[in-house]
Symmetry: C2
Subunit: 193 residues, 2 copies
Amino acid sequence: MNKEPLINFIQSNLPVSKQILEDIAQHFEYTTISKNEYFLKEGTISNNYLFLAEGFMRAFTHDTDGNEVTTYFYPNNRVVFEASSFFMRTISTENIQALSDCKGYSITFEKLNMLFHSVPAFREFGRAMLVKEFVAFKQRTLAMINKSAEERYANLINTNKEIFQYAQLKQIASYLGVTDTSLSRIRKEFSKK
Amino acid sequence: MNKEPLINFIQSNLPVSKQILEDIAQHFEYTTISKNEYFLKEGTISNNYLFLAEGFMRAFTHDTDGNEVTTYFYPNNRVVFEASSFFMRTISTENIQALSDCKGYSITFEKLNMLFHSVPAFREFGRAMLVKEFVAFKQRTLAMINKSAEERYANLINTNKEIFQYAQLKQIASYLGVTDTSLSRIRKEFSKK
DNA sequence: TTTATTTCTTGCCATTTGGCAAGTGCATTT
DNA sequence: AAATGCACTTGCCAAATGGCAAGAAATAAA
């Protein structure tokens, strides 16, 4: 079983020896998730931390009216986890679903903590991933406040074009904070330019 | 120097012995910040992690047009830090400013890491604070997407009334993602009910 | 291929929010 | 007390976005 993608990813975020990397990677296990299946279901406690080597996923929750709201998209070469449920052991209000067939390497909460304990340097990695997600959310909040829907759309298409390849309009719309109707129009306007 | 508030706060988030608590608290130092002064200035690397015992603060940044956007309010009995700059050692794009005279206990990045190392259980505390902030931002993003300005206002006044005591309208407006004009109107509508 | 189903687009109009400028109220200064 | 400066409010109108329903296009099923 080839864990190169995982090892490369960790290495690019944490400068440690090849030996330690192997040691860390060994505790992750190969995982596949078929298109439309769930990595996490709301109502459960998340117990898996995943490095997504191939594929595409999205997180979503339901608003007070019961509508799906996409909260995040996960391209490959990223870690996928729901911070609050996974680390705080609380019941998740979010779902994480594969939008294409996915392959990756996952580790349980218990094992991850064991690794944090036995490989102190790896804690930095864990923290970095957490902070990274945090920053992404902060920026998104900020964009929601001071960018127009069209600007948010433009930014998304410029930085994450692959989203449009995997997700459907409605899912992207709720992520951008507009209705699918509006997104359709924005798209039209945008294509004129 | 009485560190009771700090000790009580840590204890409420982490079940460890009185002895360990004292040990942790001993590394924090008493800090005061006068009204309108800065705990963090954009352009610098944040090096302090603060437990705010008394007072009220806000974080803000500037949007692309140069306008101030309030990104967070910090009531007392909370920790105050800018995750990305503090933990990743990056230059902050945010300011954190005292909205009233503040008192608290702060610790440097270096010392905090030393504590995480020497008191393993305390790492859980650090992670919990990070996740807590994260969750708060997620919820705010969600609210920006699927709540009207009036609902966001109603929620804020119900859960954080003290904000209205310390912050001015314009600061609250940018936090809620509306103009001060609109907030003024929302407020008027709201008071009718 | 034909039919059925789902996704996306569009027209029409309503609602929300913004922009600007004038006005009011309160506090500080002189 | 008068003048100045902020913070906040309000009126008027414009711009952005939403809601609904019908239609077009794409996709899946028969």
